[in-house]
């Protein structure tokens, strides 16, 4: 196979390409969902294919095809798709401003990475997985007033080979495990939801089945269901400006939307104008703009163990790295690629990923983390005279510059004189990104810090759904507008 791939890459050079890479990807997914005591879905899937990206006459071309079999057919198909990529690049070259230039990242000629896994989730019997979910589901249904219960497990394995005309050869095996439970309570015209350990069908990590066992889903089930029911009779979250403490699970999505996306350099340069939008963090603001308060330090770190954005090498063959996006409040870095990094005088920090063999790599978040502070959550609450505590995302929206955001959470508690008080339903909060982060005056310490996995980060056309993560602990923000509802 290696010879076939290298032969076709050489053929691309012979045809006039100045750069080319091949990604051969195999993905395996298992998904189980139980619903109201029944098995709603058990499914598995396997996908195999390759994508070829190349530069011809200074412009990009990309072509891909699914893969069946190997040997002679494989090489022929590879060659055919490579020629398609050349013809696509020729079409691109008709409408270019200047030639694409890549940075000088040296090729990794013999790279290997494997997610550290204790218990291969694909080897755990389906019966065991079902028993876990059905037990949790039954415990949720024991709580009176619950209308719909749901639990799911989701496992993902990706094996990929990256090779380039520069001589790169990298093999990686990535494994992700995730799952969670959810209870929905309905009364009249009200519906309330509670999830554990997070919304979006739970939490995910680059770990094996040991990650699922640690969740203790059956033990948490009665609490989750009881909270959903309690929310039906809770007071509506008041509309006011107050101090807001966000739990780590909600803060993860806040980081995602208001720091992760706006620091993607391709977005800043306009490549997503027609779809998801651009970014307020324009080039003139780099090292020249206070994104947040001095407490706020945000990193992009693909070297963390356990995050969905953890890997050995990105999909351009660049080694995983840790870099600063915001340092003590100052905006100091973007997430970059080999094409975009030279525009700001840098080398790629390794953020290019594609969600499959049939998609072009884009700048995608790795593990984007709010670095921990030195407060405990209890101290933070005790230090708050009047405020609100919100937990677990329910809705999220942000504008096309990543400035105006509005989030809703599943649950909130009043904070009065340093203690948690009344339960509120339908909590929401809104703000403008830099104003919000500049109002951050306290961040919880590493004991409260956790990496949260998200599997539904959308970007690009055709749409790609990326697996990313965010390390976060609870944090406090001053004078935030809450309770937007109509």
């Amino acid at each position: 196979m290696k010879d076939d791939i290298n032969d076709v890459l050489n053929e691309a050079l012979d045809l006039g390409a100045t750069y080319g890479d091949v990604r051969l990807v195999e993905q395996e997914v298992e998904y189980i969902q139980v619903r109201k005591g029944n098995v709603a879905t058990i499914s598995s899937s396997r996908e195999k294919g390759f994508g070829i990206r190349l530069l011809y006459n200074g412009a990009w071309g990309f072509a891909s095809a699914s893969l069946t079999g190997e040997g002679k057919d494989f090489k022929e198909k590879l060659s055919k798709v490579m020629r398609q990529a050349v013809s696509v690049a020729k079409a691109s070259a008709q409408l270019k401003y200047k030639d694409v230039v890549l940075d000088d990242t040296p090729p990794v000629t013999n790279g290997y990475y494997k997610t550290p896994v204790k218990e291969d989730p694909f080897k755990v019997p389906v019966e065991d997985k079902l028993e876990l979910l059905l037990t949790a589901d039954a415990r949720m249904r024991e709580v009176e007033g619950v209308k719909v219960t749901q639990g799911s497990l989701n496992f993902y394995k990706e094996r990929k080979i990256f090779a380039s005309t520069e001589g790169a050869w990298i093999e990686q095996e990535i494994v992700h495990s995730g799952g969670g439970i959810r209870a929905k309570a309905v009364k009249g015209e009200d519906v309330q939801v509670r999830s554990y350990p997070n919304s979006f069908e739970g939490d995910y990590a680059a770990e094996g089945f040991e990650f699922i066992r640690k969740m203790n889903l059956p033990e948490e089930a009665p609490r989750v269901a009881s909270e959903a029911v309690a929310l039906l009779s809770a007071k509506q979250c008041p509309q006011l400006e107050t101090d807001l403490i966000l739990a780590g699970d909600q803060l993860a999505l806040q980081i995602h939307e208001s720091c992760g996306h706006p620091t993607e350099l391709d977005r800043v340069l306009g490549t997503e104008v027609s779809y998801a939008g651009t970014s307020f963090l324009t080039l003139d603001k780099l090292n020249n703009f206070y994104y947040g308060s001095p407490q706020v330090t945000i990193t992009a770190d693909a070297t963390l163990v356990g995050g969905l954005g953890s890997f050995g090498y990105d999909d351009e063959g660049v080694p995983a790295q840790r870099s600063f996006l915001v340092k003590e409040g100052k905006f100091v870095g973007y997430q970059t690629s080999r094409e975009t990094a030279p525009i700001i005088g840098e080398r790629s920090n390794g953020c290019m990923r594609a969600d499959g063999w049939n998609r072009l790599p884009l700048i995608r978040m790795t593990n984007i983390n709010l670095e921990p502070g030195d407060w405990t959550l209890d101290e933070m609450i005790e230090d708050t005279k009047e405020g609100i505590y919100m937990e677990t995302n329910r809705s999220w929206s942000i504008d096309d510059l990543r400035l105006n955001f509005q989030f809703g959470t599943e649950v909130a508690y009043e904070i009065k004189d340093g203690s948690l008080g009344e339960l509120y339903k339908n909590p929401t909060y809104t703000g403008i990104t830099p104003q919000f982060w500049n109002s951050c005056d306290a961040i919880a310490n590493r004991d409260n810090w956790k990496i949260w996995g998200l599997v539904n980060c959308g970007k690009g056309e055709p749409s790609q759904s990326m697996r990313v993560a965010h390390g976060a602990s609870a944090a406090r923000f001053k004078n935030v507008k809450i309770g937007i509802w109509k």
Partner: protein, 447 residues
Amino acid sequence: MLGQEKALSLLEKALNFSNSLQTEALYIGKQESLTRYTNSVVHQNVIEENTILSIRAVNEGRVGCDMTNSLDERSIKESVEKANIVSKVQPQEVEFYSLPPPAPYKPLEIFVEATAEYSPEDKARDIGIIIRIAERAGVKAAGAFSTINQEIAIASTLGVRAYCKFTTAFLSNIMFDEESSGYADRISRDVRELNPQAVAWEALQRCLENREAKELSPGEYEVVLEEYAVADLIEYLAFMGFSALSFQEGYSFMSGNIGKELVDKKITIWDDGLDIRGLAQPFDYEGVPKRKVELITEGVAKGVVYNSQTAFKEWKLSTGHALPAPNVYGPLPLNLFVKGGDTTEEEMISQVERGLLITRFHYIREMHTLKTLITGMTRDGVIYIENGKKKYPVKNMRFTQSILEALKDVRGISRDTKLQSSPEGFGCAVVPKMHLGRFNFTGISKL
């Protein structure tokens, strides 16, 4: 692309490998070519060829699904066996009655050779037209141009045999500069109907109209919504309430409300997968023929859409709205229509006392499904209207609004309708423009 004979023969092979009580095999073949442009250059240009074989095995009410994109005999057999095994390991009978029986469907002319053969060079030529218009006007152009050839085949041990192939062409364009932007798009089965020049001029006009935008205080305003914005709202409404799954489980606004007046009498919404004014398709992903379903007629809740599972629960017939298995959303209406009215955009604007003309919305998310409460932003063109006249463009605003509440005060609906398939939405919708009496804006976008 395999063609009808080879596709159905592949599925026969899969069914022959199965020893489950019931088995369904779904094949999807797809070729997609997409060119993206921004800052007036092509920056991403891709082509893709893929196949999916999905097996659903049913054993005593227990269902197992497996998917592969490898179509060699070994992979097909492995997929059938996996579906069979996972269906049998389940500890108890689930609420699954049966795969649907075969039913005749009406073939539709939805494959257009011109679309299937449209090359990246053809797209570059059309994008060049858009870019030249942008350059002459001193703005930049961005967007995407895609063509898709797709085929679907379904076979089951109950005798279902269904095949169709179709094409889709989509062109979007944003004209923009430092202070302004305007949007336009077209979608069709036939690439020749996209008219890049018209798309460019439409977006450019909005971009030029949107310059020197002012801030407007949040609050309640009348709105005149372009088709893009109407489609966003209707597709979200459909997602939140027109599925039999949410209806049966009690978290749809339609639950318990059939026959009741929910919105203004001017509002009539239906789904019709056979109407070629939309992106028609003869059958759903279970091979059940598409049926027209009245959802809201003259303001009154009429019904929801069903797949075979939700239909069996109420001893009804499936309306042909199944998504590919496995899916957790239940059936969805993907071919929505909103009845046109008797007015025009100009006439609607002339009736506005104090309101906004809105091109489209951005990043809509549901906040409360039963109340149909959503939030989102305006994007690519918002104009303030006072006493029947357009006054000045305004900066993007956040809204927080119940869709059903907004549709209770409909002051005008345009005669003409347009086919939309929104990146924010699900499926497609043929919709008019609308003048709504009250829409709640809760914030503005500014640094």
